[in-house]
């Protein structure tokens, strides 16, 4: 008798646990290492969104659970992290990465396992070309390159531009290419193109060559660690022209490393906390309350939006299996997020407007928004 009661109890417990079994979302990000700034900010946005959704009752009556893996900003680690998330943690979808290079490492694995992957900020077109299960919630580099080329021509009034790009980075090379495709036909001239590698610290050689080439402005489509050092060394060498770049510049460390040297520089990005739009203001307030007064960056906002887009797709799919979730994600239309309205196009990319940030007196200030 006692035995039956006990087993009944166990069955009830098991059933109860089953009903509220969480939906697992996998995140792989550069939480430590050279680009820890990218991983940490997007991670904080993701955590905030998941906590909000769970407080509101979860999705399909089940709470969301985040399984986060760190790739230490190292090549090769993203693939390992994603394999682990899929085979051991059995996640239903993947969120990552901010970097295009690391997203490209993980994408084939997600595609093969038929697990939808949503990249918050990987802007290189190749990422979603990997396959039908790979999505993104940000604009792509051809758009970003065009925006910056027009900006250089119209706002900076630059005719001669030098380009410094990172040779080991798909994002950087792509952005440089798309910039040239708009800038040269528009009557601009690229006077010199120099390369560097990720992790380099000395750029004086390339900058000396840029100086000799007589550029009006310098386009540096790289990541913040290198870009901040580049601008600092440029100022040391007496180069006074504006430097400008893409969303890879987006991090607090940029200003910490670059300081005053960055005055008069610009970059394009996805989001500005200074934007007065009420949706953005509400998000900024919630984010600051959750993360000790830290202001959200573009990647925090994109991480946040990635979770909401996924949650929306889960609701519409009514199931967690890969193919159904994939179809629902592909059908995302006019989803209102904090980085703008997201519509997933037939190539699984989002079309959105870009924000241009001006760096002035050691601060990042909102310059303007450019619609697609």
């Amino acid at each position: 008798m006692k035995k039956t009661a006990l087993s009944l109890l166990l069955v009830t417990l098991a059933l109860g646990a089953r009903a509220a079994e969480p939906i697992k979302l996998g995140e792989y990000a550069s939480l430590t290492g050279k680009e820890a700034g990218f991983g940490q900010t997007s991670h904080q946005g993701i955590v905030l969104a998941i906590e909000e959704i769970n407080a509101a009752g979860g999705v399909l009556g089940r709470p969301l659970e985040l399984v986060a893996e760190d790739n230490q900003t190292k090549p090769g680690e993203s693939a390992t992290a994603v394999k682990k998330l899929i085979s051991r943690d059995k996640v239903v979808a993947l969120i990552g990465e901010v970097s295009s290079g690391r997203s490209l490492e993980a994408a084939p694995i997600a595609q093969q396992a038929k697990i939808p992957m949503v990249a918050p900020a990987a802007t290189n077109p190749k990422v979603t070309q990997t396959g039908s299960y790979i999505f993104r919630v940000c604009f792509i580099d051809p758009f970003q390159g065009t925006v910056m080329a027009k900006f250089a021509k119209e706002d900076l009034k630059a005719r001669k531009v030098a380009i410094l790009s990172s040779v080991s980075n798909a994002y950087s090379l792509g952005l440089a290419k798309f910039f040239k495709e708009t800038f040269i036909p528009a009557g601009g001239e690229v006077v010199t193109e120099k390369n560097f590698s990720e992790g380099d610290k000395d750029f004086r050689a390339q900058l000396t060559a840029v100086k000799a080439a007589g550029a009006d402005a310098v386009f540096v489509p790289g990541y913040y660690t290198e870009c901040a050092l580049i601008v600092r060394q440029a100022r040391d060498l007496g180069l006074t022209m504006p430097f400008f770049g893409g969303d890879g510049w987006e991090d607090e460390q940029l200003l910490k490393i670059g300081g005053e040297a960055l005055n008069g520089c610009y970059y394009s990005t996805h989001f500005s906390a200074e934007n007065t739009d009420p949706v953005v203001a509400a998000f900024t307030a919630k984010y600051k309350a959750r993360w000790n007064g830290e202001s959200p960056g573009a990647f925090s906002a994109l991480g946040y939006d990635a979770v909401y887009v996924l949650a929306d797709a889960l609701k519409r799919a009514g199931a967690t299996d890969g193919p159904k979730l994939r179809a629902a994600l592909a059908a995302t239309k006019a989803f209102p997020g904090v980085t703008g309205v997201t519509t997933i196009d037939k190539d699984r990319n989002a079309t959105k407007s870009a924000t241009i940030i001006a760096l002035k007196d050691g601060k990042a200030t909102f310059f303007k928004t450019v619609a697609p």
Binding site: T32, K194, N195, S197, D202, R204, A228, G238, Q253
Partner: protein, 296 residues
């Protein structure tokens, strides 16, 4: 012409730092015949010591800057001697390969404990020396580059003095020539080896500060690439040979800078290392190294 001179200056200041690190590799090799791979991480610790000392010592003064430099050199010397005492001395007399693997272990230990203690995110190194830029014709000279070249030159002269004009230097050369014979004539090998590690590590500490001064973003893995290049510089100059290490460092830094400034900037490391291979094909013992016959 001014572009050429500018690149030369850039190359020399980069090469000077490689040379400082290379000296540490070469000295330890000279005495113990093994490559101390943990050396590049002592260099990283030097930069971090400077970063933390910078919080207590006023920035932007020459005196404060020298104090930070000395503090980091002292700290690194102690670290180097501790590593030698704890990790390498128990293996004295064991096969070189065992010591080499231990060295790699110590290197990884330092890198990843650095990630735990200092954090993995890059930090901004403070401006410890007052900085200014001078223009000379078309040439822009930053005071930090001058500091690097001058400090390196002074340290090398000091090192040369210690090795050739002092008692401990004579003992170092004796141990390097033949450790057993040195012991027979009354040289205390342990003290000499410990001193060599201390001296080499102090130079790495100075290198760390000078590097961070020019490239003010420091992280626990910052030693890996400069360490590798400095090792190459030491081999290029002739490992075990002190002026050789200096020459190798300057040469590597200059070549790297010129390739970087040319249209082949993509292949900078490939070209620098190809030159190394070519030089070693013609002079297997390095530029200044003496070919020695291995007695079996």
């Amino acid at each position: 012409m001014s572009e050429f001179l500018q690149q030369l200056l850039n190359g020399l200041s980069l090469g000077a730092i490689y040379a400082l690190i290379a000296l540490g590799y070469t000295m330890v090799y000279g005495v113990l015949r093994f490559i101390n791979f943990a050396h590049s991480d002592v260099f990283m610790v030097g930069a971090f010591l400077g970063y933390y000392l910078g919080k207590f010592i006023p920035e932007n003064t020459v005196g404060g800057g020298l104090l930070i430099l000395l503090g980091a050199m002292l700290g690194c010397a102690v670290l180097g001697m501790t590593i030698e005492r704890l990790a390498y001395r128990p293996l004295r007399g064991a096969a070189t390969l065992n010591v080499l693997i231990t060295a790699i272990g110590v290197s990884l230990l330092l890198e990843y404990s650095g990630q735990v203690f200092f954090g993995a995110t890059p930090r901004t190194f403070p401006a410890v020396f007052p900085s200014a830029n001078f223009t000379l014709g078309g040439l822009v000279i930053s005071s930090n580059q001058v500091v690097v070249i001058v400090v390196t030159a002074l340290l090398m002269v000091g090192l040369q003095f210690i090795v050739y004009r002092t008692k401990i230097g004579t003992a170092m050369r004796a141990v390097s020539l033949n450790p057993k014979a040195a012991q027979l004539v009354g040289v205390n090998n342990d003290i000499v080896i410990s001193f060599t590690f201390g001296l080499g590590s102090a130079l790495a500490g100075a290198g760390g500060i000078l590097y961070a001064l020019n490239y003010p973003s420091i992280d626990p893995l910052m030693g890996v690439m400069p360490g590798l290049k400095a090792f190459v510089a030491a081999v290029l100059g002739g490992i075990g040979n002190i002026p050789g290490a200096a020459l190798g460092g300057l040469l590597l830094g200059t070549v790297e800078t010129f390739v970087n400034g040319s249209q082949w900037s993509t292949y900078k490391d490939a070209i620098a290392f190809a030159i190394l291979i070519i030089i070693l094909l013609f002079r297997p013992a390095g530029l200044l190294g003496k070919a020695s016959v291995e007695k079996v």
